[in-house]
Amino acid sequence: MKKSVQDFKVLRKTELNDETFVIDVKASTPLPDIKPGQFVNVLVENANNTFLRRPLSIHFVDYEENIIKLYIKKIGEGTNKLSELNLGDKLNIVFPLGNQYSIPKNSKTLLIGGGCGVAPLLYLAKHLRDAGNQVTTILGVRSAYDAVELDPYKEYGRVFVTTEDGSVGEKGYPTQHSVLNEKFDYTFTCGPEPMMKAVAAYSKSKAIPCEVSLENTMACGIGACLCCVTDTKRGNICTCTEGPVFNINELKW
């Protein structure tokens, strides 16, 4: 799939809470085929300490509107600057980058997202449903305040929530949710590493395939700089090109 660098235009901005927002960016030419799990590398302008692009998961793609949705949590200067973008502003993006989640057919799939790690799971849920899979999504957050944007996932299957304080859904971590007592054929996850490791352990105990999306400090995003390596059974490989999605069997987890 050919990668490109393009100016997108901010079409919509939706604030989910004080820290989290979704921006819809519109491409000037028809979007290429974008796979679930892929990411973009965005240029943050006018930020003194943000020199490199920011890699962001692709949250959703709407080919009719020709937009990519980006789900962003403000965690530093770069993401803060992105939150200040106005409608109509341009955003320079290198895309589509990375590999993708596998899409099985006619299976029971379990998606587990933690915090802003939920970002790539919505687009994945759509692809899984479209391939005839049953989709169950668990979103793990700290409290009700962070339990934002649940409805879109409901389009593609069941959605459950866990909160650390029990303010909504089941209390605890997503890997402690009671729905895990059901039988699943595949697990897909994205979020904090301890959570993904717990999902990996669960999947191993049930002997089902598990794919995780890893985060890493990236410079180029296209496999040129070798900065963002993951230590795998095949040695150090680039998270940006050979990932970000890995089957846990490839990792030394």
């Binding site: 660098v5 003194n48 490199l52 890493n216 400090t217 995003g221 040129a224 900065c227």
Partner: protein
């Protein structure tokens, strides 16, 4: 019409813009973004005698106007390059240089000798300046005697254009440049990264697995420019300037300071099309300043 062609001794570049080793992969990573044949040359990833896994993660830290890296010359070794990568990239209609590194002199010599056999590789860039390997690398380039000895030994087996990449982590870079010239280097490229460090105050941990790493990006440009000018005043062989070049204006500054050609490094990460934009920008500058031949700009700074 403006003439962008430059000669580094026998090595002819269609224009002075090259890409820096370690920032451009093997060129293939950028094929979706640019036409590589529009560049004067590309310097592919640092290559060593044997496979190297490089340093552990984390290998990169962003800094104000730049970044630190501690990749540590991860590569699959020179045999893999010759047998697998070279056949894939040899059709590029540009100069392909291989950056050659090592831990001991024998490694440099054996690697250079193997690259010497590749028809479509007209030059090597001898890396005596990598700050991210425990042995060798920069250690060769920070002392005149050891720099001289590695250049001398490689010169015996390498028959084509020998470019030597210099480290800025020295007291007087012109002395190292002179040592390389005396041993038969055809050109020098400078600067490699500056040794730096970053710490997370909250966790009190260094941000790189190796604690220290190589600093690059626009933050190093004034240092690089000064060193190019110093070396220009010390040696007769051509100089390839690099260090924080982000656009054509930066490139012109290096050429005015004495560089015959330039390399784009870290900027490739920010804009994968920057290298060809710099070629266009240099052309525009030459038209605007009515400069017919790029060579007229080399070292052409005026007095204050």
């Amino acid at each position: 019409m403006v003439n962008l062609e430059v000669k580094l001794k026998d090595l002819i570049l269609k224009n002075p813009v090259m890409t820096a080793s370690g920032t451009f992969g093997y060129g293939e990573e950028f094929e979706d973004f640019i036409d590589i044949s529009q560049l004067g040359g590309i310097v592919v990833k640092g290559t060593t005698r044997h496979h190297r896994e490089g340093n552990p993660y984390p290998r990169m830290a962003e800094t104000p106007s730049g970044m630190l890296n501690a990749v540590g010359l991860q590569n699959k070794g020179v045999e893999y390059f010759c047998n697998t990568i070279y056949p894939r990239i040899k059709h590029y209609n540009t100069n392909i240089l291989v950056n050659v590194s090592g831990s001991v002199i024998e490694d440099y010599v054996e690697t250079a000798a193997m690259i010497n056999e590749l028809d479509k590789i007209p030059a090597i860039e001898l890396n005596i300046s990598c700050p991210n390997v425990k042995e060798g690398g920069m250690a060769f380039g920070t002392n005149c005697a050891s720099a001289a000895s590695v250049v001398r030994e490689v010169r015996k087996v390498y028959k084509k254009h020998l470019m030597v990449k210099l480290s800025p982590n020295v007291t007087d870079i012109s002395e190292i440049a002179k040592a390389a010239e005396a041993e038969g280097a055809d050109s020098v490229s400078l600067i490699n990264t500056l040794l730096g460090m970053a710490i997370d105050a909250e966790t009190r941990k260094p941000l790189l697995s190796t604690v220290t790493g190589g600093l690059s990006g626009p933050c190093v440009k004034p240092v690089a420019l000064r060193m190019v000018w110093q070396v220009f005043n010390a040696v007769k062989i051509p100089i390839v300037g690099l260090g924080g070049i982000m656009n054509a204006k930066d490139a012109i500054e290096f050429i005015l300071a004495g560089a015959s050609a330039i390399q784009i490094g870290t900027a490739n990460f920010i804009d994968p099309q920057v290298s060809v934009k710099v070629v266009e920008g240099i052309k525009e500058y030459m038209i605007r300043h009515q400069v017919e031949n790029l060579t007229d700009l080399i070292g052409a700074i005026k007095e204050q």
